[in-house]
């Protein structure tokens, strides 16, 4: 395979590292969730990419097509997306509750309040 043909994978890696970095480096809980989303998205792309078959079309039976893309990764990743949505929703819910309990969504601020008690 030629290098440009692999550009999807480069995107995957960049997204993955970006998301991961955001999760680790940001103290803001909302940004952490954003980072987590980016991180997960990279995996979605990874799966979708591997489902692609060169020259294949959408995997729907039709006259005149012989090669189809692999539908399985799409199905798998649909599940993963749902899981991702659930995680995000739950994460956001937690952030809302944290905001109500602490009055802030900054990690260091929360830490300070916990240490004080």
């Amino acid at each position: 395979m030629d290098a440009p043909g692999l550009y999807n994978y480069w995107i995957v890696i960049v997204l993955m590292m970006t998301g991961f970095y955001v999760v680790i480096s940001r103290g803001n809980l909302v940004k952490k969730i954003v980072g987590l989303n980016i991180f997960q998205t990279s995996v979605f792309i990874l799966y979708i990419t591997m489902g692609k078959v060169s020259g294949g079309t959408a995997p729907i039976l039709a006259e005149g097509f012989e090669t189809y893309s692999n539908p399985l990764p799409h199905v798998l990743i649909l599940t993963a997306i749902v899981v991702g949505v659930a995680t995000t929703a739950l994460g956001c819910a937690l952030v809302v509750r944290i905001k109500e309990a602490y009055g802030t969504v900054e990690e260091d601020e929360i830490q300070r309040q916990d240490d004080a008690t």
């Binding site: 991961f20 999760v23 809980l29 952490k32 987590l36 991180f39 997960q40 995996v43 990874l46 799966y47 591997m50 990764p73 798998l76 599940t79 993963a80 899981v83 659930a86 995680t87 739950l90 994460g91 937690l94 952030v95 509750r97 944290i98 309990a101 602490y102 929360i110 916990d114």
Partner: protein, 499 residues
Amino acid sequence: MIATHLPALQIVVPLVSAPICLLLRRSGLAWALASIVSWAALACAALLLQQVLSSGPISYHLGGWAPPWGIEYRIDAVNGFVLLIVAAIGAVVMPYARVSVAHELPEEQHATFYTALLLCLTGLLGVTITGDAFNLFVFLEISSLSSYVLIALGRDRRALTAAFQYLVMGTIGATFIVIGVGLLYMVTGTLNMLDLAERLPPMSENRTVLAAFAFLTVGAGLKLALFPLHFWLPNAYAYAPSAVTAFLAATATKVSIYILLRFFFTVFGAANTLELGTLENLLIPLGVAAILVCSTVAIFQTDVKRMLAYSSVAQVGYIVLGIGFASTTGLTAAIVHLFNHAMTKGGLFLALGCVVLRLGSARLESLEGLGRRMPLTMFAFVLGGLSLIGVPLTAGFISKWMLVQAALEQDNRFLAAAVAAVILIGSLLAIVYIWRVVEVAYFRPAPEGDGEGEIAEAPLSMLIPTWFLIGASIYFGIDTSLTLGVAKRAAELLLGGGA
């Protein structure tokens, strides 16, 4: 007819009752349903294990699609045993939860609580039973998401931050596992574990396979609180509602360890990607570090729940050590300890739950004089503690015995002696942290001011489950034919590479 569909029922029954629980809304009804379902799950798991032991692995094709295309539920001695552990803990914790939850959560959250607990149970059972790598991820996320919810239900506001921290770490871990699975799928084109095991050997040099191995190891390591990746665990366990702590401590990490075992030995075991040397170099130092560091940290905790949480990380260290030896004895030790520790730590956390019910906290100094006021609870705690230490006639002793034996089997005599010494030193550290509690509970007078009558023994509905687990941790220290027998078969199966 039911017998042939047991694998599906094992998962589906708890799954279907979760939404029904949500619909019931009434606390008592939801609890009753959850309890009955958890007992059914236990019966199911016991029957499955018995079938496996008598007539070999069971394979169930979901939707009638034959593997490797369809999802396969596959039960052998390894996961049959883990299923039994998870279901047993579920069946013990559910009845216990009623009083504990009524005390710790507001009324309107009860139905949600039981729904989440049932979903968590479903997820954990699912992870264990499935023979499909991606399906494993899905179930893992079901259990994880519901456990985040359960932890966040804790009364302290720190439960929220703990749950959030766990959510971030858990999601990263699970995502790593998906990446690993994806990479394996890229090179082999299959998701069925047995099929993977067959297709991997020719690709042992393939870098994608190695990367997949790395992702899976780190991902599972995050979920099982492998030593340097354990930071989410103490907070999560310390602030979750008592029943949840007991349930998760006894099952969640154990199931993650099962994932590790399954991928290491069944999936990669046949391929030479897994050279024993690498496993040893990685897992043994981590296990040793976990035992020493976390046991020491546990000594300095002022909250008993947190202390036990750190102790859990240390105990995971023992199991990882056993896996690291990659010998029959080592794996037997790891699997036996998986069981024994689930019983012991579950019992200990349940006992603590009784304490929290009466005192409202598990801080060490608030336990003063509790040996007299709650004699049964504290005695259960002491017995559990002894098992944690590894005193003879308790389950902990059997684990330690097997582990030391596995350590001494190593070829490198110096390493063998050193590791054996570490295992025993870990026991000694356990004496220190358990005895801190014992001394406070038995040798300090009860604080002045509150009358003797105020703090009474916990209700029977909580004491019986507590004593059931503690009793089990004693019983399986004396009669080991079941635990050791099954564990040995499981270990041989894993090392036999698939089958």
